[in-house]
Structures are given as structure tokens and as C-alpha cells.
Amino acid sequence: MLLASSLAWGACTFSSPGGTIAFGSLDPSVANTRTAFTDLNIKCTSAGNTPSWSFSGANGNAPLQMKYAAQNAFIPYSVSPSVVSVTGSSQVWRVTATVLGTDYQNAVVGGPYVDQLTATITP
């Protein structure tokens, strides 16, 4: 009982519903690495607790990838979380997504390319 209570006390949950990461328009003739991010708020029942993050995408996880809605075309990307601020039990985390130039220099024109990324924090 005590063990279970201590785990519950250290748990973190999202206090914001989610976010959007928009890369804007990618120019294949430049094809440099592009990043974009969104900030998410979480609340931990134990101050100082740092959650572990995992991600899964609607279009696969190895790699994560955005899908062209009208065609069978994809652009891979990666994500990484980093802490922005900690105020008591409230934390702000930044999820940064990265697209490599080599991964879109031959991509089909247009779009949008879209993915629904699910971020999970534990404990």
C-alpha cells in the first residue's frame, strides 16, 4: 500500500491538451535541416520529479513520418523532449521535431504531409 501510494504521489500528467508542430513549407532546392517545436505543460505530484517520455506516430514509429494525405508519400522526422522550466510541481517541456534535408529533397510537391504524434510520460 505504501509502495503504491509513493508511486502515485510521484506521477506526472499533462495539464495542457496537446499542441501543433508546423514546419511550414519545405524547399527541396535548399534541403537543409528544419526544426519546429511545441511546448507542453505537465504537473507532477512530487516536485522535482522528472518524467520519462516516449512517442508513437499514426504513420509508424521506425521512423516517425508525416504522410501526404492524397498520396502514398512520406517524410520522416524525429522528436526529442527537453525541459524549459520547472516551477514547483509545474513543468514546461519543449518537444522539438526535426526533418533532415536528405529526407525531403526528393519529396512529392504539395501536401499537407501530416502525422498525429502521441506523447506519453511516465511515471
Binding site: 502515485a8 491538451p17 496537446g18 508542430i21 513549407s25 527541396p28
Partner: protein, 140 residues
């Protein structure tokens, strides 16, 4: 007593899992678009280039490679080099596009270049000299 303890521990785990359900995940929408662009391969990043012409007897021809975003058709604009003071009545006409692989862009990566060929009539040496270079632009 042992059964009661086991039940308490099990119930606590259910509460932990139940209390975190839904709140431990967040959904992030990710999106982008890919621009339609065409560029000359020898000068990636440029939409204009000069094509050195091979001035054979009676004509002048030249070629240059280009690349476009996958799925994009190029549009070219071509102009001859300016003026020909010594040409008299044989004012050179601008070269025309002979071929451009009749292609849709295949991307900007290595090995995906397409070829644009231009040619113009050059009946005399003066005209051939005037057509020594051709300026070409490509869009989008």
C-alpha cells in the same frame, strides 16, 4: 490477513493506473508542405543560368541540366545574347528549346537531373558569335 493485504495492494495499483489514464498522453499534430521549385543543377539555388553554345556550321546548340521538385513541370524562358552589330540584315533569332526531357521533376537529390537542350539557326560566323551564350530562366 494475507488475502486482505494482497487485495489492498492490487486495489492501489488499479487506482494508480486509473488515476493516470488519459492524462499521461498528449496528442501533437505535425504537418508540413513541400514547395514547387525548379533550379539549374550546375547552380542549385539559382533559377537563371547561361548556356554556352556549341557553334557548329549552320546552327548553335547547347545543353544544361536542371532539377525540379518531384511532380513539378518546369517552365523555361530563353533569350539570346544581346545585339549583333556586324550581322547586318541577319539579325539572329533567339534560340529555341529543342527538348527538356519532356519530364516532370524527380526531386533535387543526386542523380535526378534532367536535361534542357536549346538550339538556334546561325547561318554565318557573325550570328554564331552573337549567339555564343544563351540566358535561360526556369520556374517555378
Amino acid at each position: 490477513m494475507s488475502n486482505r493485504l494482497s487485495f489492498s495492494i492490487a486495489a492501489s495499483w488499479v487506482l494508480v493506473a486509473g488515476g493516470a489514464d488519459g492524462a499521461e498522453t498528449a496528442t501533437i499534430s505535425i504537418y508540413t508542405t513541400v514547395l514547387p521549385v525548379c533550379r539549374f543543377a550546375a547552380s542549385i539555388g539559382s533559377d537563371a543560368t547561361r548556356i554556352p553554345l556549341d557553334r557548329a556550321q549552320g546552327s548553335a546548340t547547347g545543353a544544361v541540366t536542371y532539377q525540379c521538385t518531384s511532380g513539378v513541370a518546369p517552365t523555361f524562358a530563353i533569350t539570346a545574347s544581346a545585339g549583333c552589330p556586324g550581322c547586318g540584315d541577319e539579325t539572329p533569332s533567339a534560340p529555341v528549346i529543342v527538348s527538356y526531357s519532356h519530364a516532370i521533376g524527380r526531386g533535387m537529390g543526386s542523380g535526378r537531373e534532367l536535361t534542357l537542350v536549346v538550339a538556334g539557326p546561325a547561318p554565318t560566323e557573325s550570328v554564331r558569335t552573337a549567339l555564343s551564350n544563351v540566358s535561360v530562366t526556369v520556374s517555378p
